[in-house]
Every structure is written in C-alpha cells, then in structure tokens.
C-alpha cells in the first residue's frame, strides 16, 4: 500500500472530505489532493465550529466560565473541567478536601472510559463495522446513568467547583460503580474477541500510518498518539496532579507506531481507568466536599499560571494570565487533539484514502475540542 507510486502532479484532483462527511465526526474538512486512491497532499481546514471560548473566558468571571469547559469536549468533559478547577485553585491557593479530589478522580476516570468507549465504537464504524458501536454505547450508557445520578447531566457536566464539588456521591453511585467494573471487564473481553482479534480489522490497522517518535515531538502529540509510538508520556504520571500519585496504575505504551498500537493503547487505558476507579472507591475518604474557608470572590493574584491534565484525548493545558481581577486577563486552552490532528496533513501523504480515514479515526478527534 505504501509502495512508491509515480506521482504526476498534473493528474491529481482535489477531493473535499468534509465539512460534512461521515468519517470526519463533525465539521472537519480535509482538502485532499488525490492521485487515484492515493493522497498526494492534504490540508486540514478547521474552525467550522469555533466558538472563541478563550474570549468568553476573558469576559466571564471565574465561576461563570466553569461550564464552558465541558462544552469543549463533549465526550470527556470532566477532564477539561478538572484542569480548569485545578488551575484556579492553584492560582488562588484554595485547598481542596481530600474526598473531593478522590471523587473528582473517580468521575474523570469514569468519563474517560465513557469517552474511550464512544471512540471505540465510532472508530470501528469508520472501518465499516456497525455493531460494536452499539455494544459500546450500551456500556457507555451505564456510565452516563451513574454520572447523571451524581452530576445531574449526561454529557456536558458542570460538576466541579473551585474548592470541591457541587454534589456529594451517594451509596447508590458507589454500588453502581462497583457493579459496573466487572461488567465492563467482561465487555472488554467481548470487544477484544469481536474486534481486536478480527483479521479484517487487524489487516486494516497493522502497519498503517506509522508515526515516528520524532514526529510526535515536533507536533506535540500526546495521549494514545504518542503512547502508540513508544513514548511513555502520560501527564498523570509525568506530572502528577490531584490524587493520582495515590493510585497504582500503568501507562500502556506500544512501540509499533501504527494505528493498531493507538487502538491498543486506548483499549488498555480503559482497563487502567477501571483500576483507578476501583482503588478510588476503596480509598474514598469521608469528610466534606467543599473547603471550610473559601474566598467569596475568586480573584487569583497577579501572575501567570499553567496547569496540564491528562484528559481522554491527551495532554490538555490551560494557561491563566491574571491581573488580579475577577475575570481572567487571558485564558489559553491548549487542546490535545489540536496538536494530534495537525499531524494528519503530513502523515497521510502517500496513503490510500481508506487508510487515511482509518488513521483519522485512530486519532480520536472531537471537533469542538479542536476548534474551541
């Protein structure tokens, strides 16, 4: 497939993949210069769902911006909120009760499983298999039910507060989560049998779209894109935050650099997230979920703050430039898929279109998160 083909520049044509195309999962557009089935050049055009969250961050007060973060990435919303609250707490010196941090970690990990499950289904659907999506959604639905029972919403949560949480978890949630973990593990076995082992699936991914370590570094790739290329990088381990140092979990790393490696990383991550949830439920301390002392008005001191967290899609960074006022002076959201997607233009050159779209699926794109 990757055989060198004679490229005749005068015989190419432009194929417009998107903004409405089944494989682009939203409004992403890729202008592909094609030679037959082969891609000669690709230019990704983004910004179709750009909402200028950063300006909103400047115009709103700190608490008012809380709910915007979950609108960035609608599949793994809690991870982004986590970064935001951690940053503001760090900047303004709010101490979070331990229980709140544990609950946050549990929620974020459950949300990560939900996000990966959706990605798994959508990815297999990109490859033409429809049923795994439905199975994945069934499992995801359990997570959403649990999250809804705690946070009140199913997708765009507004759950974390500066200093803690808005709701405590109840016994029902803990019971449901404990029941969920073995069920999910059983489902994972099913997925591995149905999809991972499948020869058609493997043939489509093995050796496709190799990304070198160097390329990942030059583009700032993170999450499974980096870890599938043999880079042991997970913000939860490299730059421990919240209560993650308390948990015993592994970072799956694959060295094959291909689409299958990226797939395997995410599938293994589901298991690791389940482990974190399990330990979190075991260790969950009692106590309050909001600190006793909390400033009435959040006004971080003058300065420049940065916080990175590992969301379902990779290393999410958030930078706050504060002038001491009640609005941020500047709020920069570094979205992980923005960097991961950027790889696509260079990496897909010389690929066939169906491999390129499978590769695009393996990047785990959420377009609103790229465009912000």
């Amino acid at each position: 497939m990757n055989s060198p083909i004679l490229l005749q520049p005068d015989e190419t044509f432009i194929l417009n993949v998107g903004p409405q195309h089944p494989a682009t999962h939203g409004v992403l557009r890729v202008k592909m210069e094609m030679n037959g089935e082969y891609i000669v050049n690709a230019e990704t055009v983004i910004g179709y769902i750009h909402r200028m969250h950063e300006k909103m961050g400047e115009l709103k007060t700190y608490p008012q911006f809380l709910m915007n973060l979950s609108r960035m990435d609608y599949l793994g919303a809690l991870g982004y909120s986590h970064g935001h609250v951690l940053l503001v707490e760090k900047a303004s010196g709010i101490v979070v009760p331990e229980r709140a941090e544990y609950i946050r970690a549990i929620m974020v990990e459950l949300n990560r499983v939900a996000s990966h499950l959706f990605w798994f289904g959508a990815f297999v659907m990109d490859l033409g298999g429809f049923s795994p999506l439905m199975y994945a959604l069934q499992d995801r639905e359990h997570i959403l039910d649990m999250l809804e029972s705690v946070t009140g919403s199913r997708l765009t949560y507004c759950y974390f507060r500066f200093g803690g949480l808005c709701n405590d978890v109840d016994d029902n949630f803990i019971k449901a989560a404990r029941q969920f973990i073995p069920r999910m593990r059983k489902s994972m076995k099913k997925y591995h049998k149905l999809v991972t082992g499948n020869i058609i699936f493997r043939k489509r991914l093995e050796g496709i779209a190799p990304l070198s370590k160097e390329m990942c570094r030059k583009y700032g790739a993170s999450s499974a894109v980096a870890r599938g290329s043999g880079i042991n990088f997970d913000v939860r381990k490299n730059e421990p935050y919240s209560v993650y140092p308390e948990f015993d979990f592994d970072v799956p790393v694959y060295h094959e650099c291909d689409s299958l490696a990226r797939y395997m990383v995410r599938m293994d991550e589901i298991e690791q997230s389940l482990r974190i949830v399990e330990q979190g439920l075991d260790k969950l301390p009692g106590g309050p979920i909001m600190p006793d002392k909390k400033p009435k008005l959040i006004k971080p001191p003058v300065g420049d703050y940065y916080q990175a967290v590992e969301t379902a899609r990779g290393s999410f960074g958030i930078r706050l430039v504060s002038d001491g006022g009640k609005n941020p002076y500047r709020l920069k959201l570094r979205s992980p898929t923005y960097s991961n997607m950027h790889l696509f233009d260079e990496a897909c050159q010389g690929m066939m279109i169906m491999d390129a779209l499978a590769f695009m699926g393996s990047l785990d794109l959420v377009i609103p998160e790229i465009d912000r």
Binding site: Q64, M67, R71, V150, G152, C166, K190, G197, I199
Partner: protein, 146 residues
C-alpha cells in the same frame, strides 16, 4: 508456506469467533427504551430548566435579591420585584427565563441562598418556535398551583 496457511486458518477462526459473538447477542433481550411509548423517570438530580419553589402558602420563596441574575453566565434570567405597601419583604413580580440561552449549568440554583429556585425534571421540550422557550416562571408557578 506454513505461515500462509496458518494465517488463513487463524483469520478464518477469528471471523467465526466474531460471528459467534453476534449470534449470542442476537438472542439477548433488547436494551433500548421505546421512547416516546415508554419513558424513564429522571434521576433525582436531573437538571432541567429552573422552576420557582413555593412556600407553604404557595407564594414564591424568592426575595428578589438578584443573585441568580448575576451568577448566570449567559444572562438568561430577568427578574423584578417590588415592595408592597406596608410589607417588609420584596415580592416577586416578574421572573423570566430565556431558555434559548440557558446551558443548564446550575449556577443560579447554587447562588440562591433561600432555596427559591430548583431544577425541574422536564425534558420533553421541543418546539418549532423560539418564543416557546421564554419561560415566565411566575406564571408557571401559578399554573402549577391550580
């Protein structure tokens, strides 16, 4: 040559395993809910649009402090009140919720220290008209009383 046949064999087997799984799934009961013929009850923390809470006498508990209005990130809430003659407390005269802009973040409910607003459990909100989503919560409260 051996590798060639092993690959064919393992490949075929993997296909049969996959078909076995879907075969088993075929006989399992369905998991979906046939909305709108059946509906689920919303969880107790479900966040619908906000609704005024009444006290024992059926009057809104709101004291017209305007904190919810300030807390709202999207300026959905407009409220007004006036002091009746001889009364001590302000009485709510108008409470409008522009649900077209609301993102159900719950800032208003949290900001209220009097427990005067709460989330409704309503989710069947569909309309072809934008005007249907400008809620007059005071009117809704009175309708509920009847």
């Amino acid at each position: 040559m051996v590798a060639y046949f092993t690959e064919i064999y393992t490949g075929l087997m993997s296909l049969f395993i996959g078909m076995g799984i879907t075969f088993k799934e075929f006989f399992k009961p369905t998991v979906t809910v046939a909305y709108p013929y059946e509906t689920l009850t919303m969880s107790s923390r479900y966040r619908g649009h906000i609704e005024l809470v009444e006290d024992e006498e059926g009057n809104p508990q709101c004291v017209v402090c305007g904190l919810c209005e300030k807390a709202c990130p999207s300026d959905c809430i407009t409220l007004a009140g006036e002091k009746p003659e001889g009364g001590k407390k302000k009485v709510l005269t108008k409470y409008m919720l522009d649900f077209t802009k609301c993102s159900l973040c719950g800032s208003c409910v949290e900001s209220c220290s009097f427990g005067a607003i709460d989330f409704s459990k309503e989710y069947n909100l569909a309309s072809t008209k934008k005007e249907d989503f400008y809620f007059d919560l005071l009117k809704r409260l009175e309708e509920r009383k009847k």
